[in-house]
Subunit: 331 residues, 2 copies
């Protein structure tokens, strides 16, 4: 991050809305799908195949991130990534983001500049051709980033959660449990009582560094959503609340049971099952199909009593319910 | 509003996310443009003409509304209306809303139910065929409603702010200054020091009642956006920050001067010029064209020193800057 004196870096409450918007817009990139970008009442985005895929996801200071741990760049990146993953999970290609930003007036201008950088670079890295095409800036005591992502199915049907069939394989693409590991590192090591404290990189081992990156700047395999759809995925979703909980949702929507193999879940199967926020893709495929980038973790069976079995046993469905993990907004 | 005992009306922090989502989804209506509605990673909306119009606008408790003055129904209605107006201002027909809701845990379930009712009924009243197709629910100490609206141009070009030409007429559809009058009534009459207090309808005169409705449940002429485009509007925008400020933006984008007539601005021209939040449509038309529902308020001239003149004199551009009107979150 470029260093800048506080004199050069005003608080948002001390500058005009126009100044803030210009700083943000200077950091947006053109989208190859845009007919009309920021600056009018609304944006216009190309949808050559006759439909648009749309999703929205919000990050709120307190329950979803802490400023002591997340910089502006991290927050921008993550707010893009989690929305891109929902578009990918439909088998669609992300085309555009709209960003509704509610900011406290004591926030520094550089923070929203870095947030815009993070949004742009996450799009460039994870979903080339996609960019921020519009947004809204308002004031709030609680920093809130609500992103809406749009995507294009390029003539294909959407891949929903409801199409898994007995005999299909269950597969995932992307990391399982890394983001939760990162959160555990933050909560376990970088806290002073209830107050988050800044991460000291010198105190991190290599594995912890990667886990922290997965938590703060997740890089789900967005392009594999289209690949899975093209290959014939019968169902798909992104894993935002943990594999066990989300696999249960897919099983319910498809009215099947997913039999998973613990040995396929990596070094820490419990964390892979319970940990949220990786935004890996969970999909089912006909038995003879497995696109590159996906790994098999189980099989689809006719619906039994439980939606998800691991090595034949029911798992206690657990996950990322923000109401359960409610916490204060300190830090 | 149906009355309900507190026992039947739990606080959001005491019930599961699923309970809240089911209560909300029970109140959404199908959209005639929807291929896939709520319940999957993303929604899929028809866009037969090959593009989608998209905008986002957020209401934050404190700067944008107060719970002492706005009920859940009002908030849902207004958050839909302000976004529908941005779609209309492009000459597009609204097709779908996505709603990102951040709620304090001490809010009652009935509040979000009424909010969902307000969203649905605003769509039904202002933009038939449009409905909520997706959303996100998260936790925040500050009640925040970020809505994204999508719309369809039905094969027409978007009507931007940039196309006004010397010789065109300047016209508006919808109210000017009523919402600001309503806000003045609230701030002037229903406050105890810095704390908003509930509105007592018995203390309202008829005009005040209408003004309050315009502030809390604005009803901009959404359908006239399409009519204006079909008729040949050369530029258009919605008036969210006051006529003077927004007309100045249109004048700048089009590189013209708008000469307005004070006599055309109703009973209270000052309020019409300065007052925001009516979301009336401001448009320019060739001189021989004026679609029903629009009224002429001026003429487009070649660009002079000022972007907006009223009876030949420059107006001090003033308006609805949330930073300027910053206030606490009491009430």
């Amino acid at each position: 991050m470029p260093s800048r004196s506080a004199d050069d870096d005003p608080r948002l409450g001390d500058v005009s809305e126009g100044t803030i918007l210009r700083a943000i817009l200077a950091r947006t990139a053109p989208s190859s799908h845009t007919i009309l970008g920021p600056g009018d009442d609304a944006a216009v985005i190309r949808t050559p195949s006759g439909s648009v895929v749309a999703t929205t996801d919000t990050l709120v200071h307190g329950p979803d991130f802490r400023l002591a741990w997340s910089g502006g760049y991290d927050l921008g990146w993550k707010s893009a990534a989690v929305n891109l993953a929902d578009i990918a999970a439909m088998g669609a290609r992300p085309t555009a983001l709209l960003v509704a930003l509610a900011v406290p007036r004591d926030l520094r201008l550089s923070f929203v500049e870095r947030l815009a950088d993070g949004l742009r670079e996450a799009c460039e890295a994870l979903a080339p051709g996609c960019a921020v095409v519009g947004g809204d800036l308002t004031v709030s005591d609680v920093l809130t980033v609500a992103v809406t992502a749009l995507g294009d199915l390029e003539g294909r049907d959407a891949v929903t959660r409801a199409g898994a069939r007995p005999g299909d394989v269950v597969a995932v693409a992307g990391e399982l449990g890394h983001a939760a590991h990162g959160l555990a590192v933050l909560f376990g090591r970088f806290r002073d009582g209830d107050t988050p404290v800044a991460v000291d990189p010198a105190r991190l081992e290599t594995g912890e560094r990667a886990a922290l990156a997965a938590q703060l700047r997740p890089a789900p395999p967005i392009g594999l959503g289209v690949m899975a759809s093209v290959a014939g995925a019968t169902s798909m979703m992104d894993i935002s609340d943990g594999l066990a909980l989300d696999a249960g949702r897919l099983a319910t929507a498809s009215d099947v049971t997913l039999e998973l193999s613990r040995a396929s879940l990596g070094d820490n199967p419990e964390r892979a099952l319970a940990g949220g926020e990786d935004h890996a893709l969970l999909a089912t495929f006909p038995p003879d199909v497995l696109p590159s980038g996906f790994r098999v973790i189980g099989t689809v069976r006719a619906r039994g009593k439980d939606g998800v079995l691991v090595d034949g046993a029911a798992v206690s469905i657990d996950g990322w319910d923000p109401y359960r993990d409610w916490d204060s907004t300190a830090g």
